[in-house]
Subunit: 308 residues, 5 copies
């Protein structure tokens, strides 16, 4: 795959050709390919500019699609989005990846070994196989995200903290970007499947319908995850309030029991000359009795209100 | 129903045939059936892969649909989702269930006993009857969920706790998955009913319209339940805040009554040499009078504010 | 209206016929009518099964619609939903009500007295008149609900309590069910109005358009009510928090004024042998002066912060 | 405009006629006009019944629309909604207003003075001019509402109180009713503009497109206002919580500083016979030193936590 | 660009003409241009009235669009919206800007230097280039807003205050207005691209499709930003509650430890004559022992509950 010029020589020869460019720093290579295959200048710009949303453009003699390749960075818990441009011509498929990623490796392996349908079918089947490889990869990323959601959900129960909140919030924002990458896919693959382009045979349409189902499923899963994350934020908020309530209860129980008692002992700390109780033989034990009665009464009251 | 090979011999004989495979571990059986009836490889994959969302695929000579069979686990309060694949051919119906479930039992009984319309009508009516059995089953699950919602709603009033919150949240997530299983049904049955396929006669269309209504009703009920659960979460949050308010009130009442009183008794606990009140004959009773006045005033104030 | 068999004799006679069955316990009567007028078995089932959502079914020789008859129970504040099935044939109208309700009474009166257009117009006008009677009834129910919302809104301001919250929540759930009954109406009456069925003359279409407008208006009102109820829940939550804030303020004001004062009197309650202040002639008045200064300062501070 | 019968005499004369009825109490006048111009009974009912939502009805020989005339009551801060019915015939325009309002005054002035296009153009232009006058009036109301929102937004920052909350809530409910009056406008004017009716010439269509844009703009503004009001409610809630937090802080700072100090002075208020510290020469100053140290330490701690 | 009359002389000469009017105070200039190019009076009004929402109007012999030019004021953090009117005629393009802004400067430069496609292509390409310049400018504004969001997000974590809340709220309202400016763009450019107007050649359509993609991307970004801001408000609310919880904890810990201790010292401050403990030799140390035990026990309890 390294020596691209060599490949270009085969341009006019019959047979299926697949040129895979990984890394968009090779601007001149892409320019050369574009020149040879007669791309519109806007297509060349689109291949190099990685900020696009997924889209499908049918230029008649070739079909151009932009997809997003996703990968999950386990360390940061972030989803990395890269751009993939695929071009389907009458007898060639071109693929341009933003970076060296290994999502096409199993496919290359299958081609080399001659296994499966891929060698027998035409160039549009290869095109489908590339899209399929990208979309299948989404489910790996979604599985990782699902695990992360479960992990955070558990931590929300055992130890809710602002750090957890921040993780949830970041996951939510990430989900938003993910949805933007996956949503347009349905339209794109749907457009290919409806067979507007003569470059795609009907026999391949059935496979595209399968990828279409996968794309819908990925969108569905993302929506479900987003709903779940929103639910987690609600739970976080109510668990904070719950904790405030718990703290309040402890304060209230302690204060409510001891404030009246402190008042009682305060009374007999007064220095009036004429306080008969102070001279009573059983004054002191009596005060203890009163205090214990008050304390027990409070305890019973709080137990009845389920605060203890 | 056990000996499948035997059934397959009848393939080319006239008459309606229904092959029901329960349990997808019998991979080789499914492969054999697929071979005999000429399935597309993707259909075979779809039957075995249980992660699909409900869908309808019309292959011309046969119609393939995936539905979800739901059941409610009373112990865990969870809805279990299993996949059912149904194939309608010119003179056969195939059904593949993920596990041994008994939803088709009443139907089998009706066929055996020769009761009802099912023996007189064609193969498409049998197909309808299978879909109907699956969809009718949804209402049993929904009824169970409705009871659970009512139970939680009651507990929310009598004894709101984080455990209740968790149950509600889990129910909400479950509802989300349920909605994903039921929503696509409308489209699928609608597609069948519109009669695009020649395999479905018009007389059966009227029955499909009936199932279609049921599917919409199930979707509606799920939406209603989801709204109700969302409302329950709101109530939970406000009931926590309400309880914090109650606790605050008790603390405030006790503290506001006794803190000033404790201050008063503190005054006459001071050891100044020149404190005329301490020598007064009626000093001590006077203090009591002041304190009772303050206490009564506070009590009246709180009663006016409806805190007592 | 009692003796139904008698009516059935007139079946083949010319002229408009209206058979009104109130109470679905008369299963055999409905079966007989169904037999005579040649209903599909599913229609018979639908008439008897009252759990349906409103729908329109055009069977060619007759049109079958299910509507909901609403009534407001003033005692419980609940909306009661009953099912009405209407059938429009070439020269007959059949109506099946779940219970004895009096919504058709004014209509019967008008027919008996021969007043209004109802005797001059055809069978489809009678059909319209029945729908109109049902839909007009919705506005009475909505008016009752509007009054209830206003009542609760007022109570929310004067005396918010968990009981009010519960009433609001119940009203919200009721509104949800109501919306489900009214929403499909637009589609049904719209379907009738578009005149797909030859049973409905164009001159009646103009009246149906009027009912259609009413149905939209009812839906609109329900949506408005639902938004208002949601707003009430928000207000309830913020009024609880407001009250917690009020309670907090009282506690804080009292505690913040008296805790420092209690500290001061505590100082001079110490029993050190060498405390010069205790021997001062003006020590006691001085302490009072200090305490009054602190108290006034606190009061000014709280007034500035608008807590008093 | 007073003597209506006189106007009616001109019915069959050529030229553009505009009859403007202000105040629906003149039931017999409306009945007479309806009779002369051959209205459908439902139209007559619609003109008199002011509870309708805006709608368009094309009766072939005339077009009937219902619009809402809005006005802002500065005293109560409420939007008053009145109904206007407009009828466009081949050579006449009829307008029925619920009350005496002055929105058509500038138009009348223009007609009298013969200024502008209004005299040169046909009857449909007059029809457009009436609609335009009504829609332009919306912007005056919206401007008033915008000012009120700004006023409340400012008060929310300077002095949030339950009164403000109530004002916001009332504004929100008002906005809801407003939206219901303005929303259907787009459909109505869009319907007129698409030129289904031969009564509206193409040259007028361009003007209707202009009103259409205004209607969309009004809807947009209402939506923006509603979003802003929702945001204000959020701010109110968080500002209450903020204030609770502020109150809490003051309480906590005071209590946390003085409660330990009160404990210390309490120790030396004990009456044990054997308390060596009480006899120390420097005991009292030492206690002061300890208390000042504790106080300063607390102060530094709170400053570090930004509570002071 | 200053002397406009001169330009107007060239009106009937062949070749592409671009007249750019910056500043709408030059009312008479615009009136003159309108007169010469035969504008409908409504177009003239629209150019001068800057309150319009973006729209497209096809007058047959010319196409008129209104767009919004955005700029970000770094000082106030606000987005400034200005109106741009573009007119595409058979051989001319007119552009009217509300103020002197420099968004067309690079374009003018390219025209003067004769670089790029702009000189070779027709008048519709120039029209496209103007739209492209305006839309590309959106991304600069969006980038600035993105930085501001990130800045506020960070401040929310480090130092949440009502000031931050206000900034977020203002940003949210700004986003709302922004969305209203950008949303209609899709429809406008989509309308141009679909090629309804003969003034736009198919070769330019491909470029318009590119701007269309940019418009969608801008809308998408705005939606994402709005969701992020909503999330920030949630975080703000829960961080306030979190802080209240923290404050509560400190208060509770201090109060719960010292209130019982103060009670204990209060006991031995009482002046009863018969209190045996006061005479004990080890009474005082014993009380200290009890108090230390209680204090340690409380400390352990709070540590177990993770409040310390």
């Amino acid at each position: 795959m390294e020596n691209i010029d060599e490949y270009l020589l085969y341009k006019d020869k019959p047979g299926v050709k697949w040129i895979n460019v990984e890394g968009l720093h090779q601007v001149e290579v892409i320019a050369k390919i574009g020149e040879i295959y007669g791309f519109h200048p806007l297509v060349q710009e689109d291949i190099l500019n990685t900020g696009h949303r997924p889209k499908l453009e049918d230029y008649g003699n070739f079909v151009y699609i932009i997809l997003k390749v996703l990968s999950f960075d386990r360390k940061t818990g972030k989803v990395i989005t890269e751009q993939a441009s695929l071009v389907l011509g009458p007898n060639y498929v071109l693929s341009f990846l933003e970076n060296d990623v290994d999502i096409f490796d199993p496919l290359k392996e299958r081609i080399r070994s001659g296994l499966g349908r891929i060698r027998r079918m035409g160039v549009d089947y290869l095109f489908y196989a590339l899209i399929d490889a990208i979309v299948d990869n989404y489910f790996i990323v979604l599985e990782n995200l699902g695990e992360r959601i479960e992990f955070l959900e558990e931590r929300l129960v055992t130890n809710p903290s602002p750090v957890t909140l921040n993780s949830i919030h970041r996951l939510k924002t990430g989900m938003l970007f993910l949805a933007k990458s996956v949503w347009p896919l349905r339209e794109i693959i749907g457009g290919l499947e409806r067979g507007d382009s003569p470059l795609i045979k009907e026999s391949t349409g059935i496979y595209l319908r399968d990828v279409y189902d996968h794309a819908i499923q990925a969108s569905d899963t993302i929506e479900t995850y987003r709903d779940m994350i929103t639910g987690m934020l609600d739970i976080y908020l109510s668990s904070i309030n719950n904790r405030i309530g718990e703290v309040m209860k402890v304060l209230t129980v302690i204060a409510t029991i001891f404030i009246p008692l402190t008042f009682i002992v305060g009374i007999y700390g007064m220095n009036f000359e004429y306080m008969p109780e102070l001279k009573w033989r059983w004054g002191y034990p009596m005060v203890w009795l009163i205090m214990i009665t008050v304390g027990v009464f409070m305890g019973v009251y709080f137990r009845k209100r389920k605060w203890l």
